[in-house]
Amino acid sequence: MNASFWVEALVALLLVLSGVFVLVSALGFTFLRDFFLRMHPPALAYTIATWCVSIAGIVYFSALGDGLAMHHLLIIIMLCVTVPVTTVVLARVALFRRRMAGVANTPPALTPPHGSDSEE
């Protein structure tokens, strides 16, 4: 049950990279000043950090067992499908609430407001 040196070096490099990317995304998420700016850094954690850890898992478990262990790819696919939905809904939430609060420089709604027949 021991992997070779180069496999462990590759896995260690990928894990360190993912830790650094998660830290950078959390720093950006915490210290940027507006919600629409803060939405962007978590994409690092959702994509590159998760890909690094998943590829590290694929490499490590493929080297340990026999054959490819590709099931860590499921996590990448799962996040690729679900994260844009959550992010777009949260962006719409922020825009809607900002419009309701009457903040200046907010773009108007594309669809007419409630009460018209054209909606749905």
Binding site: M1, F5, E8, A9, V11, A12, L13, L15, V16, S18, G19, V20, V22, L23, S25, A26, L27, F29, T30, F35, R38, M39, P42, A45, Y46, A49, T50, V53, S54, A56, G57, Y60, F61, L64, H71, H72, L74, I75, M78, L79, T82, V83, V85, T86, V89, L90, R92, V93, A94, F96, R97
Partner: protein, 92 residues
């Protein structure tokens, strides 16, 4: 497991812990509700990454399924909360 891989795993988990503390700070002070929902979603992702790294540490496949479950729950809870603060109800 070599000391190099062990040190890398400890470094990664330390980075996740520090990042979770930062995101928790934003969750506490977040000026609007959408900040808090986004911070909660990011905390879910950090928990999922910790699960995957612990799975590598223990050379076990069980943690992978826990990580997949956490990813599913992250999507369900975040989108439900976002839909709730958008329209006032989850399913209309």
């Amino acid at each position: 497991m070599s000391p190099m891989l062990n040190a890398a795993i400890m470094f990664a988990i330390g980075c996740y812990a520090l990042a979770s503390l930062l995101v928790l700070y934003r969750l506490t002070i977040g000026p609007r509700a959408q900040d808090r929902v986004f911070a909660l979603d990011l905390l879910y992702i950090h928990a999922m990454l910790v699960m995957l790294v612990i799975g590598i540490r223990h050379q076990s496949d069980i943690y992978f399924e826990a990580a997949l479950l956490i990813a599913v729950f992250s999507f369900v809870s975040s989108s439900a909360m976002a839909k709730f603060i958008l329209r006032g109800e989850v399913i209309e």
